[in-house]
Amino acid sequence: MVEVRLEGVTKRFGRVTAVNSVNLVFGDGEFTALLGPSGSGKSTILYLVAGIYKPSEGRIYFGDRDVTDLMPNERNIGLVFQNYALYPHMTVYDNIAFPLKLRRTPPEVIRDKVLEVAKFLHISELLDRYPAQLSGGQQQRVALARALVKEPEVLLLDEPLSNLDALLRIKIRSELKRIQKELGVTAIYVTHDQSEALAMADKVVVINRGVIQQEAPPDTIYNEPRNVFVASFIGSPPSNIFPATMDYTEEPCINLPGGTRHCVEEEYAGVLWRMKPSKVIVGFRPEHAEIVENPVDGRPVIVGEVYTVEPLGRENIVTVASEDIHLKVITPPEVRPEAGELVYVAVERGKLMLFDPQTEINLKYIAREWSQGG
């Protein structure tokens, strides 16, 4: 298969810059998810790789081959559209056979290949039907079969699961990953659903406003978001994010809402001493905190009043109000404080994230870049 590389790629539509000087490598045989809110430019990147859009600046490579000026039909890619784009006037068999027919493949070969891919995707019994007679999940498989039948070097998937219902989505998601690994094809998967991206991808690329926010394996994206956007976009419910002032009298300490103070851990202390920001942006994940009755053991603690409790069965989401800031905490089902009750929110040690208030970048990453730089 092949590695896909974007070098300084920019795409403008009139005055709007949809993709802004992106450098990106999609590893050979890797499953990469492009994750971002709608309008972030993630689909544009996919269509740039497909050749449906031409970059305003920059080059695109498949391995050593510069494909920037090649038409989509010269790139050997498979593309699955969000709406599947099945030809409504052709049967499932003809839909799948179509790319091979366009390549003037001999009919016997077409037959064998279509039957093979149909078997592989469990749609052999649907071959005589028309797309309109299929369910959403079946249409999705046919679209995938049509993309795979020509044995593409790169498989591009544009939100392929978003038109399916939630249950089916989870089922197909694991299957898709299995197929990709089995074929070893380089896959690029566009989605706005973070759980899909985290569950399936080898690497997740988070994009916002045409700029790459972070490019990392799923657990890094989750545990060490590079900036405020990634922290607030990933997670359900998303991270609690709020500003706080700093105090440097003895060591760098944060004045948390509700009047408590927390002096930072080793990994943040160095960078804070050097930058000495008067304010930081603080973040933590709802699942990394708990409601306690007594503040103990040096964990960061925020004092507040219970605002609402949403029991979800497996867990509760408790919203705590502290100085105009609403914090969400996931608690075990038995922890069910009353609204109005005064509580302490304790954050797990080492799970507090600090961001530079100007650039909104995680101070941990700034520290790392410094230590790497010298």
Binding site: I52, N73, F81
Partner: protein, 302 residues
């Protein structure tokens, strides 16, 4: 009765609804009456102009008409005319107009819907303007071209020239609207289908042929029907461009009622001609009613 307004059905019901339906019927009376006069007269020995006219049912008009005994010149002496030729001529013009309109509008409409080119929007505006253009100003210039070119046509081919010219000239009048209608149909085909074809290895032309055209068949049908009816119904261009002996149904009827021919005209026979002439229109009308209504309003969404 038990059905609420939210469940579909008419917005006005009961007495008010019946009043409206009757009011519409009253307003429609002239239309209903005139058309039934035409059809009834073609089967009668006199003009069946009102419900109390006494008439005798007869197929005589149709027989005379189809035998070409159209106008008794003195008493009952007929000079038979080749009526099949008239019908054929009408069909040739209508079919020719359809072909020319389709040939010139399908690819253009696709380009206007799907491609970016110099002056795209300007050209589309021009087409809309042309559609509304004073046809009478055009026909003077078009006839000047016709006369001018006719000097270079050998006399033997003159008749072919006339037919081809009238067909192309008449088709041109329909092209702006045809492109506009078809563009609307192309606009509704998802881009992804076309992209899928190109990603799968096809060219733009392949995509048009295999993925897009099958989906705009209703649009092509609508445009073809409009073009056919335009050619079928045309009177002015045929009258101006075709030599007097090459009549269509329109110019035949015209010649029967036009100035100076009235003394010899037997109106019930003309009614048979008119009824026959109306049949294709009615057939298309009934078969494609919804498509027709939608297409006519489709040029304007806003």
């Amino acid at each position: 009765m038990g059905e609420g307004i939210g469940e579909g059905g008419p917005l006005v019901r009961g007495t008010m609804g019946i009043v409206i339906i009757l009011a519409l019927l009253l307003a429609s009376l002239p239309i209903i009456m005139t058309y039934s006069t035409l059809v009834m007269t073609s089967f009668a020995n006199t003009i069946v102009s009102s419900p109390w006219v006494k008439f005798r049912f007869t197929l005589e008009n149709w027989r005379l008409f189809l035998e070409g005994k159209l106008a008794p010149t003195a008493g009952i002496v007929y000079t038979p005319e080749d009526i099949l030729r008239f019908i054929l001529n009408t069909g040739i013009v209508a079919g020719g107009v359809t072909l020319v309109v389709l040939a010139a509008s399908v690819t253009s409409a696709y380009a206007f819907s799907r491609m970016n080119f110099f002056m795209r929007s300007g050209m589309m505006k021009l087409l809309i303007l042309l559609h509304a253009f004073p046809g009478v100003a055009l026909i003077v210039g078009v006839y000047a071209i016709y006369v001018f070119l006719n000097n270079y046509i050998p006399r033997d081919y003159s008749i072919y020239y006339s037919f081809i010219f009238v067909i192309i000239a008449r088709a041109s009048l329909e092209i702006p609207m045809a492109i506009w209608i078809l563009k609307g149909f192309f606009d509704r085909v998802p881009w992804e289908l076309e992209w899928a074809t190109i990603v799968d290895g096809g060219s733009r032309l392949t995509a048009l042929r295999t993925a897009v055209l099958p989906l705009v068949k209703p649009g092509i049908a609508a445009v073809a029907i409009f073009a056919f009816l335009a050619g079928w119904e045309d009177l002015i261009y045929v009258l101006v461009f075709l030599p007097p002996q090459e009549k269509t149904l329109a110019t035949y009827i015209e010649s029967q009622l036009g100035s100076g021919s009235l003394e010899t005209t037997y109106l019930p026979v003309v009614a048979a001609a008119g009824t026959l002439y109306l049949i294709p229109t009615i057939i298309f009308f009934v078969v494609t009613q919804r498509l027709l209504l939608e297409t006519m309003s489709g040029g304007l969404k806003g």
